[in-house]
């Protein structure tokens, strides 16, 4: 069942010298309930802008965005955002940051109830013992965990993540990716995530949306991840589909993302971007 449906959205900015720059237009894709969708594309193609429109923080200049069959009118507690730069309030401790979200979600809860709820999510992301620390006293990975706990604590219908792990070292990134995988699988969370990292996309996503370079960025295709959902960071590369999918995406990022606009494949319809399964293709051939 489609939960989010993006129908022909476009974003345009006035340029300093006059004239209008179209960042992207005619963007169509959907996210099903319980699905994990990743968006991959080069820097500046408009990924954050799409996420902000999904979050209701920004508006599209064209097209409609439906969430649960209703047009998005603004930000909502149903869609929690994990920001690229964690966006924790530095004057609040870890637990206060989460409590701010929880008491916004359930204004009539008393202190004890809010606290207990926050503690549950602190424990869930493995921050027990650090709840009284301010963000400045936390490491990058811990800050991102607080951001994740804050987003999950309001029990949203959907999670929106903007390169949540890109500022972290490889080791921390790996552990956090697995935790997110575990948490989202456990709660059947619907997720839309932006990433630069192909392996991260293959590890986490059910479908990977490939976006071409801007301006006038397009959705070139949507790659279906045919690896089983039980995959882990340590064993994905052992799966027979892994390299086919990975090579397909890397090839897109290195080659096709640049020239796509000048050599649009026959039969390409932006309203129904082709879905490909490179994993099964390779296995079949």
């Amino acid at each position: 069942m489609t939960y989010v449906s993006i129908e022909g959205i476009a974003k345009r900015f006035k340029q300093p010298g006059g004239g209008v720059q179209t960042v992207f237009e005619n963007i169509h894709f959907g996210v099903a309930k319980g699905e994990f969708v990743c968006l991959i594309g080069h820097s500046g193609c408009g990924k954050t802008t799409i996420l902000n429109i999904l979050a209701g923080l920004d508006t599209a200049d064209d097209g409609v965005l439906l969430v649960g069959d209703k047009e998005v009118a603004g930000p909502s507690l149903d869609r929690a955002v994990i920001f690229q730069g964690h966006a924790l309030m530095p004057w609040m401790s870890a637990i206060e940051n989460i409590a701010f979200a929880v008491s916004s979600r359930w204004p009539d809860w008393d202190r004890a109830k809010v606290r207990a709820h926050c503690q549950k999510y602190i424990d869930l992301v493995g921050l027990t013992g650090a709840e009284r620390k301010r963000p400045a006293m936390l490491s990058g990975g811990m800050k991102q965990r607080v951001g994740i706990a804050r987003a999950l604590s309001i029990e949203p219908k959907m999670l929106l993540m903007d390169e949540p792990f890109s500022a972290l070292d490889a080791l921390t990134r790996g552990t956090l990716q697995e935790e997110v995988l575990r948490l989202c699988a456990a709660t059947q969370q619907t997720v839309f995530m932006i990433t630069h990292d192909v392996d991260e996309a293959i590890l986490l996503a059910d479908r990977i949306v490939l976006m071409t370079n801007g301006p006038q960025a397009k959705i070139a295709e949507i790659v279906v991840n045919t690896l089983p959902r039980s995959r882990t960071r340590h064993d994905i590369h052992k799966h027979p589909h892994y390299y086919a999918i990975r090579n397909h995406i890397v090839d897109f990022l290195v080659e096709r993302s640049r020239g796509f606009a000048s050599a649009i494949p026959a039969g390409y319809d932006p309203r129904r971007p082709p879905e490909t399964s490179p994993g099964t293709l390779r296995a079949a051939s």
């Binding site: 209701g56 955002v81 966006a87 309030m89 004057w91 701010f100 916004s104 301010r134």
Partner: protein, 281 residues
């Protein structure tokens, strides 16, 4: 290493103070017998005692020390209009400063919030602020006296008008420059504007606001002395003026020291408040 630097600078401070006081003592001690040749006009101005050459009008540090001790014995003694204890005068000045400053904060902080949040209000009020801010607070005094017809309230008004600007501009700046990210967090959590102002914008802008308050109270303390010299009646500024008329240099020096120390304490209090609201990003 660090401790020894601190110890050394403390030692140097004491040494400088001792040198200063020693030099002052020597320069101010009356030479026995023949007094210095005085300009007759100046001598006339200073009165008979100076004419005799027995007493230098400039007191020595010891004289000042004794005078301070005497003031400290009964700082709140009230012996008529022109002979109130220095503590009473100080209390008058502090009360005026705190009242004027408090009223200014009550106006400046909400108004600064409005200006910082709304480009429309900013645009509308900015020309007035630009013109009013550079006016010396004392220039308002005659107008205040004429309209208010009360010297005490007039000096409070002057404090109000001089402390309002740093708080207003700092609050507006702090509010306008709250990180977009934090506001977006509040928006995605559907936090209402009032709660956003209270829980996000105020704490985010607090360091800038308190810095504005610190500048304001410094200016207010500078201005109150001048204002009280002008309007007279009570206050530490009036005390200085009155002692000038009495030619009591020792009392004037005492008052100067007290003004400095109290100004420092006010500044330290707001410095402490700044520490409380400052956050590390």
């Amino acid at each position: 290493m660090f401790a020894s630097v601190r110890a050394k600078s403390a030692l140097l401070s004491i040494l400088l103070l001792a040198l200063f006081l020693g030099g002052w003592q020597i320069a101010a001690t009356p030479t026995a017998g023949t007094g210095p040749a005085l300009d007759p006009e100046y001598a006339a101005l200073l009165g008979a005692s100076a004419q005799q050459g027995k007493q230098t009008p400039m007191p020595t540090p010891v004289d000042v020390g004794l005078r301070i001790a005497k003031h400290l014995e009964a700082p709140f003694a009230d012996r008529g209009t022109n002979d109130k204890g220095i503590g009473i005068q100080l209390a008058y000045s502090l009360a005026r400063v705190l009242l004027g400053f408090g009223l200014a904060a009550l106006v400046a902080i909400p108004l600064g919030f409005l200006i910082g949040m709304s480009p429309l209000v900013y645009g509308a009020l900015n020309p007035f602020i630009q013109v009013l801010r550079p006016i010396s607070p004392l220039a308002w005094m005659p107008l205040a006296l004429y309209t208010i017809k009360d010297s005490a309230i007039s000096s409070i008004f002057v404090i109000f008008i001089c402390s309002i600007w740093p708080m207003l501009t700092n609050t507006a700046f702090g509010v306008a420059h709250v990180r977009k990210e934090w506001l977006n967090v509040a928006r995605t959590l559907e936090v209402n504007p009032l709660r956003t102002a209270w829980r996000v914008i105020l704490p985010a802008a607090a360091p800038t606001i308190v810095t504005g308050m610190r500048i304001s109270i410094g200016i207010a303390w500078l201005v109150i002395v001048a204002a009280e010299m002008l309007v007279g009646g009570t206050g530490i500024g009036y005390f200085v003026w009155n002692e000038w008329n009495n030619l009591s240099i020792a009392n004037i020096i005492t008052a100067i020291l007290v003004i400095g120390v109290v100004g420092m304490l006010l500044d330290h209090m707001l410095g402490f408040a700044t520490k409380l609201v400052t956050y590390q990003e």
